[in-house]
Symmetry: C3
Subunit: 353 residues, 3 copies
């Protein structure tokens, strides 16, 4: 959608200065890439260098904060909350593309399916028996919704995503393409020289406003449910094992893995490629640095790094010390030689008079 600089300023409640008020804006872009019909923003001072050369039609700036000069053709939109204004502007300039409500003639819909108002179901999507799709939700082409699955309102299930039987999603949940929710947990008993499958009969319950990236896998519980609390965000290629309990507003970055029955409390931040061993607890607002391997519980607010994961201070002191290890080996060797020499002398010295 396009609108003028002036209109946008008004809708964002931003103070307009300079530039061309009547210029139409049709997109948001970075300071470096924005052209005369694009809006840019300076949220992070690290990018201030791009400001004086931007070709953007308008730029969002923090009201009252200093900034480098802005080219004459670029309108300044001063806002007390430029971040909030940018989020608003993105929603205005780049609204989600509509899909014609209804079930595509090429979809597969089994008996006993309940469809809310304004639902979109794409071609080759599969709605198995007894599933329920809430108002305004979209099941994109090729997505699979198993028996008895429940989707709340305004969910987005992207192409090729798979929700196994019985999975439940809250409202406003986004599942990106290729993600699998509710496959069997990895549970076997070793009996008679064989790994015997333990049927996985728990479910998966996903809270409101959860977003799950592409090609992730969230297993169903063994006996109980796997749970993802409201507002949590899961990146691409993330593994969540059976019975895991994710709290609210938890962040799991790309390729992180959470083993079975781990409990992660609200607002915890789990970095990329982190591994969390089974049955561990991660306290509220704890932070695990990228690639950390957690082998013990993390306390609330604790920050852990490395493998086995250690506190920030301890970890970086270790890293620094490790770099000095080869030198340390040499110093110890020197000490030993000197001491030996000294002992000889001291021996002699001791034997004197």
């Amino acid at each position: 959608m396009a609108l003028t600089v002036e209109e946008l300023a008004r809708r964002l409640n931003a103070r307009l200065q300079g530039g061309e008020a009547a210029r139409p804006l049709s997109a948001a872009a970075s300071l470096a890439d924005a052209g005369p019909n694009a809006l840019a923003a300076l949220l992070d001072p690290r990018y201030a260098q791009y400001l004086s050369k931007t070709k953007a039609g308008a730029v969002l700036l923090k009201d009252g904060a200093e900034h480098p000069p802005v080219p004459g053709g670029t309108a300044c939109l001063y806002s007390a909350d430029p971040e909030g204004a940018l989020l608003q502007a993105l929603a205005i300039l780049h609204p989600e593309l509509p899909e014609a409500p209804g079930v595509d003639a090429k979809a597969h819909v089994e008996p006993g399916v309940a469809l809310g108002q304004g639902v979109y179901v794409g071609p080759f999507a599969v709605l198995r028996a007894g599933c329920r799709i809430g108002d305004g939700s979209r099941v994109y082409a090729g997505a699979y919704v198993g028996r008895g699955v429940v989707l709340g309102k305004n969910c987005r299930v992207h192409p090729q995503a798979v929700l196994y039987d019985g999975v439940e999603l809250g409202n406003d949940v986004i599942v990106h393409a290729g993600t699998v929710v509710g496959a069997d947990g990895f549970g076997y008993k070793f009996r008679g020289g064989q790994l015997v499958k333990v049927p996985q009969v728990g479910g998966v319950k996903v809270g409101d406003r959860v977003e799950i990236g592409a090609n992730s896998a969230i297993d169903r519980g063994a006996l109980s449910d796997t749970r993802v609390g409201e507002g949590s965000k899961i990146d691409n290629l993330v593994q969540v094992g059976h019975n895991v309990q994710l709290g609210r507003h938890v962040v799991l970055c790309g390729q992180a893995g959470v083993a079975g029955s781990a409990v992660i409390h609200d607002y915890a931040l789990v970095g990329a490629q982190v591994g969390i061993a089974d049955h561990l607890t991660v306290g509220m607002a704890a932070k695990l640095g990228a690639k950390a391997g957690l082998t013990r519980d993390a306390a609330a607010q604790e920050e852990l790094f490395g493998y086995p994961a250690d506190g920030r201070r301890g970890y970086w002191r270790q890293v620094a010390a490790m770099k000095r290890l080869p030198e340390l080996l040499k110093r110890v060797k020197d000490l030993e030689a000197q001491l030996e020499a000294l002992k000889g002398k001291a021996g002699k010295g001791g034997a004197a008079p």
Copy 2:
């Protein structure tokens, strides 16, 4: 399926004590979550604390073993093998949901496809020319079975799984949603400043009773076949490179990666997020701890940890020593200072009389 406590006890060959013999049971659940119509079990003493508060209609217990008191409403089912009894009970209470045999009218079936008895092929599944589907196997909605692919009996190929041309699965193989078997291995030759693709013309052969989790990728061989031995279990998001030879009853946990041409012998256990470099050999029943990075062969039964992977004892001694590194640096510095001081004295001492 539901049956009474008494009937279940009889079928599990378990000794019934207390509770209500006529109570219907319809599900299995954990001790903490089970309600009056659910069966729970105490297999792991770590969970004994939940026993005295359980609301389960019945609980499986080890015959002859001590346990905390069980609430009056809960029937005790004593078995010499509670684990085996639970597996049996899960199969009774939670049987796999049936699918009406036959090929869905919305599936795509090319000429020359051979279908066994009782096969299920879901909507939008694709059976390319010349593939063979063994008796009782299921190809779920949206799964892709390439040209000449062979499925044994009672296989389960879940939604969106992809079997490239020529892949062969044994009997009772389970491939979870989104998993890709037989994509090209990662093989290039550097020629003239470019990476030139080496056509990957080997296959993938998967043995009986193998289970592969969701969104994993098992590449076809370059010239020979990639092989997964019978009974092996592969978790979600696992990478198996071209020409890898997995033995029987091998376990690959979540997000593990096995690079090209590695050989992993029977009963090896590969932890989550482990990486195994190309051309390495992992001996029979070797164990690689989570996140280990293998850069040398692992002997039979060897246990390896960390990166580069080292033996259990060596690894944990290193970890312990590493934590003391900053302190060690300080101690060496002290030693140097003291020795210097002493040398001064000893020098004077040596000069004495």
Copy 3:
């Protein structure tokens, strides 16, 4: 396709010696596996041991290089460039299987789609409005091509791959099964105790001759585009975050992860399970060893290992020193004791006469 040893020798411009010139060859195989109708090759001297026992009908050898004796039934094909000859032979013996050009009646094609010459679109493939498929490209069964997506010539988009709206691929691009290109980047702002989604409005631009393995995920940019330069090769289960700029001929091995806005220059080699933190730069032809975790920029040609990643020499010296750590601790303890003893003596010595 099958042809005789003699014909193949002629087409590869190789000198034929021994074996049976009229024997038909129908496949390429490894030295160990090849039968009498297969061609093998000795490219890597590590495999020379297999030469004297091979059953191959013919074997490609380096002209002028020594090699162990070859069995009498095996023809030697001497080439100045056996690697190039093998690539050629693979293309002759194992040509890509054809697909009948045209759009399968079971595909879904929206208005405004532009199809080049000789395009193949499989059953249940989805071509959304306004996408363009270049000459000779194939969109396999179940693949999803979003609105306005552009495919160049001779692309291969394998089953269940998903190209979100607006993604652009160059010529000769291969996207393997299950890979997702253009899902939303992982971008949120923390506002009012919640993670608020930042709409991701950039695109993804993929250059000519790029190959992307199975089940990888390449996110769209936040405001600008994510880019993959020509000739780059991406393995399975790789994560490429929003706004990442991959140069030309970059290699990302299996399960590697590149966080948002990182810049990776031409010819860089990123090992398996490597993690690259956001906003970092990896210089031209830099090499990151498997499992490395990059926390600082890598210079051109630099080789980095471990986590936090360090230079090759520094890293391996650290590894070696680390193995000696427990011993070092003991040595320091000994030194301290000896020094203490000596100080006692020296003290007495100093008190003498």
